[in-house]
């Protein structure tokens, strides 16, 4: 950590950190008081679960440099362990308060992390990615075939209202479940943040950046990867346990490849280079998956396109974009570039409108053709078999394309000027 003065890091009372965590907690407490609709509670609960899942994934990808295509194996198996324990508790065979169920999921996830992780972490890089894919398919195939543990294709369902109410909390209403998720989410966030400052977290960074040198200073890189994966699987399992409580059913979908792909998308979109990146990513992803899927069947298309554009043009994710702006604000240069951002954003909206129009009309003509060719977009009714809407779409593409390109060049130029100035000021 060269460049960071030690007095900033080891002050007895780190005000900035307490403020950030305090505000996060406050937002989590206050939000359901403002948005009280059941729909909003559902969305926020899923965001909380996804935040834990994405952060645990970033422990692998961001901190340990391990690209996994099968992380849902751990959250999913954790969810299965949790649902069986919950059913046993519901039948009165064992004592288990619901509030502690996510811990059971976490231990389940960690158990499979020990088991599978031993195989997968033998290699790093591309080979690691492929072994995780193999394991994920193996588990997925087993899940749909085996009835005893996985319950076949229907999955295992449960009832979260067990035992006597404690202080009036039954976990029947959604908002009580939300607060349970929020508490677990906050605790997990704090623990994962703390983990990134432990010796293991640090050496995981070293193994990510230069495995050979890590070996030379005496660390077994395979063991570091394995331990990292076990801890990551533990937190993934916690998110699995939370989803068991939230949905009251666990189907083989939770261990599927698309679930593993989803967490990869969420984490990367948010940004793997910063601790708070996956949190943003989880919020955006849940928004796409829960909110946008109500409006369009092509939501995965928009999500995929967003992801590809991020990989190509902003590999640091949303978090890196925000941090770059914060630097500009700190150096009092932000207002010079802001108008150009505005122009780029406005022309980007034109392109977005062109994209949405094209995609939705194509969709109406193919999959939705049974419902006729008349469709409604943004409150406008039109017939997508006619030439006019297509002409509008083409027009939007051309106009938006030209304007966006101009604005993009401006932004790049001003950005370059500011960077040069800052460099000169430093010299």
């Amino acid at each position: 950590m060269a460049g960071v003065p030690s007095k900033l890091r080891y002050r007895p009372f780190n005000l900035g950190r307490w403020l950030t965590w305090g505000l996060t907690a406050l937002v989590m407490v206050v939000l359901p008081q403002i948005f009280t609709q059941g729909y909003a509670i559902t969305l926020m609960s899923q965001m909380g679960i996804m935040i834990v899942f994405a952060l645990s994934y970033n422990m692998l990808l961001g901190q340990g440099g391990m690209l996994s295509f099968g992380h849902a194996v751990y959250s999913g198996l954790g969810a299965y362990v949790a649902v069986h324990i919950l059913n046993l508790a519901g039948a009165g065979k064992i004592w288990m308060p619901l509030s502690l169920l996510p811990l059971v999921g976490g231990l389940g996830g960690a158990f499979f992390g020990v088991l599978f992780g031993y195989v997968t972490t033998k290699r790093a890089g591309t080979t690691f990615a492929m072994i995780t894919l193999g394991i994920a398919v193996l588990v997925d195939t087993w899940a749909t075939m085996s009835r005893a543990f996985f319950g076949g294709e229907q999955g295992v369902s449960t009832d979260r209202v067990i035992g006597k109410p404690f202080l009036g909390i039954t976990y029947g209403p959604g908002v009580q479940v939300y607060y349970l998720i929020a508490v677990w989410c906050l605790v997990s966030m704090a623990l994962m943040y703390a983990w990134s400052h432990t010796p293991l977290g640090r050496i995981a960074n070293a193994v990510r950046d230069n495995p050979e040198r890590a070996e030379f200073i005496g660390y077994d890189t395979q063991r570091v990867r394995w331990f990292t994966l076990i801890i990551s699987a533990f937190f993934a399992g916690i998110s699995g346990g939370l989803s068991t409580i939230n949905f009251e059913i666990v189907t083989p979908d939770v261990v599927s490849l698309s679930a593993s792909g989803g967490v990869l998308l969420a984490t990367f979109i948010g940004g793997i280079g910063f601790f708070f990146g996956p949190i943003l990513g989880a919020v955006v992803f849940s928004f796409f998956a829960v909110a946008l899927s109500n409006y369009t069947n092509a939501w995965q298309f928009y999500l995929g396109l967003f992801f590809v554009l991020m990989v190509m043009y902003a590999p640091g994710g949303i978090a890196s974009i925000i941090v770059m702006q914060l630097q500009l604000i700190a150096r009092k240069r932000f207002w010079r570039i802001a108008p150009h951002y505005l122009a780029a954003g406005a022309s980007g909206l034109v392109l977005l409108a062109a994209l949405i129009l094209t995609v939705e009309m194509t969709y109406q003509l193919s999959e939705n053709s049974a419902n006729g060719t008349v469709m409604n977009l943004f409150g406008v009714n039109f017939d997508c078999a006619k030439a006019l809407p297509w002409a509008v779409a083409v027009g939007l593409w051309i106009v938006g394309g030209i304007l966006f390109n101009l604005a993009r060049q401006r932004v790049a130029r001003v950005w370059g000027e500011i960077q040069t100035e800052l460099l000169q000021a430093r010299a």
């Binding site: 195989v119 193999g134 490849l257 298309f301 043009y313 590999p315 194509t362």
Partner: protein, 315 residues
């Protein structure tokens, strides 16, 4: 005997189809170090392109044209997508192709709908080719084997006997030297990526017509394709050929066999009944676990022989 011959033929024809897919993947990986996650998506595009073209120009012209269209798209993807990501390293490239696969899946769903399209075997390939012990071997399967073998021959001749093949081989082992000698290595990358995806497209036309053309046809192939490439040793065309046949044969034989661990113990003289510990595991038949066998092979291979059948490097 009948079971053996039929399983052998089915296994070989499926293995050859897998090889059509994995050859392009191996070429791309060995040259560019890019594990093309979207390879199966290009396979699917081949099927859909041939279906749409076939409606207008008939199956056989579409068989030629569709792979060319897919290859062109692949070259464009390399030129304007992959090359942008290249400076960020292999993980970024893998992520890009992952996103691309996701995107192509969705484009197919938006463009052609969620259900399978009626992409049928052309009349000329209907009916049996020959009969083995009362079981008919369909012409389509024979055609599949023929196309795969022709393709194998063509790729082999192209890589070993032509000028461009020599440049590819040079760029494979000594990219800097090839560049210093005045060859445009990035263009070679583009050509190989386009060529590899065109092979995937060709496999898609055959696979789509022989099996099913639906938006999920790629999903089921991604993992198995990777198994082939890893087992074959990542950079070896011959290795991926062997691995394709091996996996094709494992799949087709396992489906037809009702062997189980319990049966094996029985044959060895150990009585197995419902009270034996782990009975549910012992009674599992080979046919029931057939879909998982390739992945077990992958995991075992990575543990015991990580460089693959004919590979040269361990990671």
């Amino acid at each position: 005997m009948e079971f053996f011959v039929i399983s052998l033929l089915n296994g070989v024809s499926y293995g050859l189809l897998l090889f059509m897919l994995s050859s392009g993947l191996t070429l791309i990986f060995s040259l560019m170090g890019v594990l093309n996650f979207a390879h199966a998506a290009f396979y699917m595009m081949g099927a859909y392109a041939a279906y749409s073209l076939g409606l207008k120009i008939g199956f056989f012209p579409a068989l030629i044209l569709a792979p060319l269209v897919v290859g062109l798209l692949g070259a464009l993807v390399e030129r304007y997508g992959l090359r942008t990501v290249h400076p960020y390293g292999h993980v970024a490239e893998l992520l890009f192709t992952f996103g691309l696969a996701y995107l192509i899946d969705e484009i197919v769903k938006v463009g052609w709908g969620l259900t399978a399209v009626p992409f049928r075997v052309p009349a000329a390939l209907h009916g049996p080719l020959f009969t083995v012990y009362a079981t008919e071997f369909p012409k389509m399967r024979g055609f599949m084997m023929l196309v795969a073998l022709l393709m194998l021959l063509a790729v082999y001749l192209l890589v070993t006997r032509t000028r461009i093949g020599l440049v590819i081989q040079a760029a494979l082992t000594h990219p800097h030297m090839a560049e210093a000698l005045g060859h445009n290595v990035p263009r070679v990358f583009m050509l190989v990526f386009g060529g590899g995806t065109a092979l995937a497209g060709l496999a898609g036309v055959i696979g789509g017509v022989a099996f099913i053309t639906s938006p999920s046809m790629a999903d089921s192939l991604v993992p198995i394709m990777f198994v082939v490439v890893v087992v074959g040793g990542m950079v070896s065309l011959a290795g991926s050929f062997l691995a394709s046949l091996l996996i094709g044969l494992i799949q087709s034989f396992a489906i037809g066999l009702d062997w189980s661990l319990g049966g094996l113990l029985d044959a060895l003289g150990v009585a197995v009944n419902a009270h034996t510990p782990l009975y549910s595991l012992l009674k599992l038949q080979l046919s029931a676990v057939a879909p998982t066998l390739p992945y077990l092979l992958l995991v075992l291979m990575l543990i015991f022989r990580p460089k693959g059948l004919l590979g040269t490097r361990a990671d």
